[in-house]
Symmetry: C2
Subunit: 307 residues, 2 copies
């Protein structure tokens, strides 16, 4: 059980010499996801040695250029690389039509199926689930329809406490699955052994929440309660809180307030406006409210291993 | 009168760590043009200090991703930079619809007008003319409809030979314009002074031809006769001439043959396939046929000054 997040790009607005629009590569419990895909993402993927073929799902937050202009180029490259495995793309309504049109106009032929999952709900939804991971949408409030994404390792089964189980010879191996699922055990005598006496708590599933772009939404703390890692945009510092409000972005202080209220382990901030030359200022501002803050930077890796 | 060509990208297919899809910045006789615009072009423009606002016209050869996937991002950036001056875009039929759709879907608002000039002819056409420069299309033969572009400084007026003119006091200043235009002068006596006796040849206008992507077209030598600078794709070496034919690309040897038949001053080759690790091989192959060959490389500048 582990999580590994690689920041590919973390700047707002336009690509510049040392500024890369948003994209992240997330490995969680052996699943491989791409989150947002600004122009130049595929070059960043090569730079930071992201295996193109491993990625199975792409999650696009919203249809502003700095979050999806690199998508058609990446899909086109998959065609050139002779990808055959299907790819799933989550994003706002409209993403399928424009992506398919771009591929058609540019005569980009692909053997691999592209499966679109268009989102339009204003409520958080379970949008993906397999035996390893679940993903929920996080409705945000930006100038256009936007979702963040909450990735959670699948709830694990309870661990058997073999030492305790051996005290009851009548418990057989075929009973183990029920115990792992949390069932109590009824002895032939009719006595009930509570599950907690026979099993140990499972390892806590790791969770990662990605929130970009959005105005500050205090109510998100409910959905984000206790997540391990939270990425939250902080386009501005508090000196431009009025501009943040106007453009529906957040400040570093607001991101930190949400992290504190959500009781997360660590906060990553990014999506810095180009007006700030020193991004350390974002960290300083956030740290006045929350004590475990990291700056998103291209190539930076965040890892969590949970046994 | 001068030409300055900056290579922004010159590799085929997909952007890689040290491979940039095609784009060139052309300054010719004080006009500022962008030729093709693969993904990441705007970042290359910043890296090589191309003034965004100066560019007035963009010429797209064809609608393969490695030649135009960077266009919508660049236009979007112009919006963010508050450009007001109109921009002209030349390219194949279809470029307007997909570009406007991309800008609409991504909510990219621009105050500046975008004027599209869609091309569909199979014959070379005069597609742009002002008092400084003329531009002709160069119909190429690739897997999709493709044009190269021929940029020529505007034909200059003849230079007055003041020393000779002074020998004829009856020639007045108001006659000069006719002389510059090439007219002979008729004296009051009826005698005719031929123009060549009163003027000198104008400085030769500089010309640049851009040909990418295309199979080898020997007949182009007619249109390209005596151009100063020729960029011609050479995706393959002769060892893959069959593949060049199949994919409608050219080899370095074929580019050199065209340069020789066209009697150009210098040949630039590029659009290298990623299968070749050493691009010097392209130069070596071309030089067996033509003696002034340069390799396109990102950031390389070609200059011609003609007095």
């Amino acid at each position: 059980m582990s999580l590994r997040l690689t920041i590919l790009g973390c700047h707002s607005a336009t690509p510049r010499i040392n500024a890369y629009p948003t994209s992240q590569y997330l490995e969680i419990n052996n699943r491989h996801f791409l989150i947002d895909c600004g122009e130049g993402t595929q070059r960043q993927m090569r730079k930071y040695k992201v295996g193109f073929s491993k990625i199975s799902h792409i999650f696009i937050s919203h249809l502003h250029g700095d979050h999806f202009y690199g998508l058609v180029g990446l899909l086109s490259t998959y065609g050139i690389l002779n990808r055959e495995k299907e790819i799933h793309i989550f994003g706002p309504k409209g993403i399928e039509e424009i992506t398919r049109l771009n591929l058609k106009v540019s005569h980009s032929h692909s053997k691999f199926p592209i499966v679109f999952h268009e989102l339009s709900s204003k409520e958080s939804e379970l949008i993906f689930e397999d035996d390893k991971v679940v993903v929920h949408s996080i409705p945000l409030d930006h100038r256009v329809y936007t979702n963040g994404y909450l990735f959670i390792e699948k709830e694990k089964l309870r661990n058997l406490n073999i030492e305790e189980i051996r005290k009851y010879p009548e418990i057989e191996k075929c009973d183990y699955q029920n115990l792992k699922l949390g069932a109590d055990y009824t002895l032939q005598s009719g006595a009930i052994i509570p599950n907690a006496a026979l099993t140990k708590d499972p390892v806590k599933p790791i969770s990662y929440a990605y929130c970009s772009d959005t105005r500050y939404l205090p109510h998100l703390s409910e959905l984000l309660q206790n997540v391990d890692l939270l990425y939250h945009e902080s386009t501005f510092l508090s000196d431009k809180e009025d501009l943040a409000q106007k453009t529906k972005h957040s400040t570093a202080a607001q991101a930190a307030k949400l992290a504190r209220a959500s009781n997360v382990q660590q906060l990553i901030i990014g999506h810095y406006s180009s007006r700030y030359k020193d991004i350390e200022l974002f960290k300083k501002e956030a740290e006045t409210t929350f004590n475990n803050v990291a700056l998103a930077e291209p190539g930076k890796v965040f890892e969590i291993n949970n046994g």
